[in-house]
Subunit: 205 residues, 4 copies
């Protein structure tokens, strides 16, 4: 295996990339100039130095000149400390931030728990979540929103999280809520599944 | 134009059918036997004789031996007379019925109103709706659910219907509700639009 | 099952139509006026009266006022009697005619033979083909072109046809040819399969 | 713009990658360990050191311990020196090699010429092609195969190349050939365009 094949193998491990596109990427890089490649590899190398993980919400963020290892959301004094939304991935957090409709704090699990997984605590930041929730519950936290997508693995993860949080929920009398279910933008009634119709009826307003 | 071309033209007017598939349909029919074709055309002819439009909800249904011109839902005594759901098309009603989560009555508009349409009342059963609502409001009707898909034309239609119903809403103190908005089955948080996130947060529970 | 369900079942048997679209077709027909439906069913009924099968090439065509049961191509004196192209379906013949690059005669098999089928002669007009070829070979026929798509079932059919024609090929010294293989419009070299590359190289010019 | 955004921008320049997938790549890299990232960036950096461009056919290849700057195909004594196939990209060459049906030599243009482009010689290795062809024509070269995909830009490039090669074609009496056209694997006669049918008929055999 030469460098072309080895690099093709690495690109094949990228999410959503098959063997053909992986090879196209390699040939694409072959035709770039030195500056492009140097910038590319130095940015990849910088990722692990410049990007650190927030010690409160566990999202990735650019270190900058901050003294505390907290991201801009966790470090902000203008966010509502009463509400914490637990999301699976950084990219979910980013999309919710873009909507400008949530002003609470977040916790990023770093993934979801595969159904019937034997070591779920190794797939997500579970201990870190418990610590963060306890710390916040001792102050102002009142509600935890489970901010998950709607699919079996996400629902399994939500159930798993609720169970793990149960002692803290009882101890601090925390409210647990799920994102509302119903028709989303673009939903056609004609093609909606039973669950969506049930939720759309239940949550009518 | 021979029969093949003429029949191809008609199939081209079917929803979602282009010229190639229209022609395939004709050649498909050419290879069917007489019994198949006879059954096909007699069923099409029967449609207008056997299928009538319900004089209360305006959905299509098979006449059968009934004396009153009402469909099985409108004729039923086991449905909740307090709630009326207005839907755009028969096929929406059918899908909601399949969910078994709604036990009220329906009204089928027969379509939606195109945005800025000059004669909206010609596109939908508007007068019939007003009559049906008034009749029901004089008895037990308390809530009208707008059972529409989530797209601009459906939302325009909902607004138009509310305005048209306004005098009756006031007169009989009716509650108007929309189907709940939020995450539907399969929704990925990462790709949700701002509106869906807003509604999912607002309707959290 | 009422007429709506029965007609939905029939539309489901149409090529490429699933249950949802079948039902849409029925509701579409329900909203057509009487004239549309009358024209539709009378055209379907006419198919079997006005459209007959050519006794030479076995394609379907509109009878018209002709005395002989031959289609316009078989009845024409301006077509090259030296060449006969065997195709699977009427729709293949039509597409080749549209190209205006073939001026010989045709024979429509009426389908292809499924691989390992036990009664291939019941799937296609085999005896009719043998008769038509013998009749034409006694006059001017010199070449038979196998005008088939490129997929396993078509190639199996081509082999089957050659074997069946073999005695006539020998007796009349007929030339058998296949449509040329190689790159077709839109083919990307990067994605071509081995067979196509082999043929493109062999048939280079 | 932080490293995440900058790296997202670079991935967006990769062929076929939009903003969402670009960002997924970055988050994917964020969750890789140091070894993965180190191997990734060192392979990218090696590309320009280990991968060199063959001075005869202008394809990319791994340098290895060779003394001459020729790839394994150009350096091989078992390839047919009579035939040279000109292809647009390395990936075309690779796919043709995989078919094992071509045993001649290659020349990789490095791209195609956009239609009506003002400086076509800057888009492809034109001068290098002329030198390679002249050098080979002085020895054993007899035929040049234009190994291009079938689309307008490729056909424009083929015409451009023929014109540029014209003096050498005349001087050395070279044969110019195109890859054969016709039905390719999977082609359906029913959907073939006029050009493909014309070529399939012309190249029948």
């Amino acid at each position: 295996m030469d460098s072309i094949d080895k690099l093709t193998e690495i690109f094949k491990s990228f999410p959503g990339i098959g063997p053909r596109q992986a090879k196209r990427f390699v040939y694409f890089l072959l035709t770039r100039n030195r500056n492009y490649l140097r910038e590319f590899t130095s940015l990849v190398n910088e990722l692990q130095n410049e990007i650190i993980i927030c010690q409160e919400c566990f999202r990735y963020f650019t270190k900058g000149k901050q003294v505390t290892p907290l991201c801009d959301i966790c470090g902000s004094k203008n966010r509502d400390e009463n509400v914490l939304m637990i999301v699976a991935r950084d990219i979910d957090l980013e999309n919710i931030e873009k909507s400008h409709y949530f002003n609470g704090k977040y916790f990023v699990l770093g993934g979801t728990v595969p159904i019937l997984d034997k070591n779920p605590e190794t797939k997500i930041h579970l201990n870190e979540l418990l610590k963060t929730v306890e710390k916040k519950a001792e102050k102002e936290l009142k509600e935890i929103i489970l901010g998950f997508s709607v699919n079996p693995e996400s629902e399994y993860t939500a159930d798993f999280i609720i169970q793990a949080l149960n002692p803290l929920i009882t101890k601090y009398n925390l409210k647990i809520s799920h994102l509302g279910r119903g028709l989303s933008t673009g939903t056609e009634l004609e093609y909606s599944d039973t669950d969506t119709i049930k939720n759309a009826l239940k949550n009518r307003s």
